[in-house]
Symmetry: C2
């Protein structure tokens, strides 16, 4: 969102005809339109929620940025980007503020992890339908991680990365969830996982137009080194898709070793963009299967598309990210 | 070493004139020659100590493989390769056997780490000169890790890798050693670190003849994915060189982001090699500086060369891996 001070904060890279009166409020309006159109069960904000450098008061900017989700009463979750801490609050302060806001499911950090790098590493379990055999069981696991801001290692330039402590927490959480799920199910079944963080992995650079859906209009601004989180996710086995922010002009999903690597696409109006190329948001829909007994069962497929902030909230690039009955190409 | 059953186990890829009578005993003799020539303070075996597939009794093969070091009474350390467990002992069993042998400094796993992947993850501290200001202080830190054998993840082919649990242990151990060192020194000083494991990292593929010392005569047989250990080492800050085995025909050192990535070079006679290209071993020498008071101080430089198992144990490719007074090219 790159939210700053609201209506006094101008839009970047919009058509000349759109400049007048354009501000952070257009970002807010876009959230409202998305909520109206999609009636989402959860909204995930993938970092750079505020653009700290230009936020006079980070707490106020955060309040304003998340206000449409809060006003709608829809559960929401956020992770940190690389710009959130550049205002009047530290990274720790931003995350502490976020977890105190209404209707958020964001968490500061896992309670069981003694020491973990970053702020806002947590997971959420999406329970099955009440009254079904999947009630009180997670049918979809969501993981949220802090991918850092900038390298603090002089010999490594550029952006931050997901550290071993975070990867170990993720690995153990995934293993625990898989054990619990298996133990609780009569039939062999499986809860797919989705992972959200801000900075794309180096593996995002593996794709081109021949093997992704969407566009790549700028370089992949990953960390300049590989910290191994892609490997850790592949090894964990449950992750089917990853969603990142960071690069505003890339909005593709590409599949590698069974995991879809997806950008959300640039959303905020006070963020660099491309003139004439609409701001956009990614929608993710997990559908349940019907069991033999006619009730609701496990997740059978995960689909995605994007909506453009144009006159019709045009939906583009619909695709199946994962389907229970399809073996992914590896 | 790829040790199997001793004198009945033939040599691979030697000159026709060398075939007759050539066996594992040539490997043993090479260790003895190296000990005679170098009078080392420590011998490190970088995995595939035995070639399990052809060892009738893994325990006996291990005993025989390390016998020259044990007989000489020289402290030695070993890590596991990908072939050690292919005989009558599991990976755990091989490492348990190793730590019970005489004069070894090998350890099974760190006691403080609750759960860690692999067997034979440990560190050693090399103390400064007795009577000097560096007595009872580590002037050189050695880290040993189990880089695994083969991937157990169906979608990832090939060799194993260093896991998040091991990286976190390494990271915390390095940080602890650096804190202790700083706290104990009046002047700002620094204990360099050396890391030993079997399977090279994907980063070993970054070099060619223009920026390494030695040769590359085969592909880099790293894991097919990057698990981030190079990044973790760079971030730790103390590691100056890494030494791996695995590829018998590569023996180079190349520097990247301040860390020398080195192969040992093929040593064992019952291991694939190249006809007419001598088996070889890498020597590493850490030299101490003289303090202003005329006593021995911290490590001032780390040099390396290789010795060939030819008539003269010819030394080749001498180079400085790290020097306290040189800022490395990054």
């Amino acid at each position: 969102m790159h939210y700053a001070d609201g209506k006094t904060t101008p839009c970047l890279n919009v058509l000349p005809s759109q400049v007048h009166g354009c501000s952070d409020l257009n970002t807010s309006a876009f959230i409202q339109r998305m909520i109206q159109a999609g009636k989402p069960n959860l909204i995930v904000f993938t970092g750079d929620n505020i653009f700290g450098f230009e936020a006079k008061d980070s707490a106020k900017s955060l309040n304003a940025a998340f206000a449409p989700a809060i006003a709608a009463g829809i559960p929401w979750a956020a992770v940190l980007g690389n710009h959130d801490q550049q205002g009047t609050l530290s990274r720790e302060g931003v995350m502490k503020h976020i977890v105190g806001l209404k209707h958020t499911l964001s968490q500061f950090n896992p309670s069981e992890a003694h020491i973990i790098d970053g702020f806002g590493n947590y997971n959420l379990e999406v329970g099955g339908v009440e009254g079904s055999g999947f009630a009180n069981k997670s049918v979809l696991n969501l993981y949220f991680l802090d991918s850092g801001d900038y390298s603090t290692v002089p010999s490594i330039p550029g952006y931050g990365w997901i550290k071993p402590s975070q990867q170990l927490w993720f690995q153990r959480t995934s293993a625990k969830l898989q054990r619990l799920h298996e133990a609780s199910m009569a039939k062999k079944s499986f809860a797919p996982g989705l992972v959200y963080f801000h900075i794309p992995l180096p593996e995002f650079a593996s794709f081109d137009a021949s093997n992704f859906t969407g566009v790549r209009q700028e370089g992949i601004s990953s960390a300049s080194i590989n910290s191994g989180f892609f490997t850790t996710m592949v090894e964990a086995g449950d992750v089917k898709a990853v969603f990142t922010g960071h690069d505003h002009l890339n909005d593709f999903c590409g599949q590698m070793t069974g995991i879809q690597l997806c950008y959300a696409g640039g959303f905020g109006y006070h963020a660099y963009g491309k003139v004439g190329w609409s701001r956009r948001a990614r929608v993710v829909v997990a559908s349940l299967e019907k069991t033999d007994e006619g009730g609701w069962g496990a997740v059978k497929s995960i689909k995605t598309w994007k909506r453009l902030d144009d006159g019709h909230l045009t939906a583009i690039d619909e695709q199946v990210l994962w389907s229970k009955n399809l073996i992914p190409k590896v």
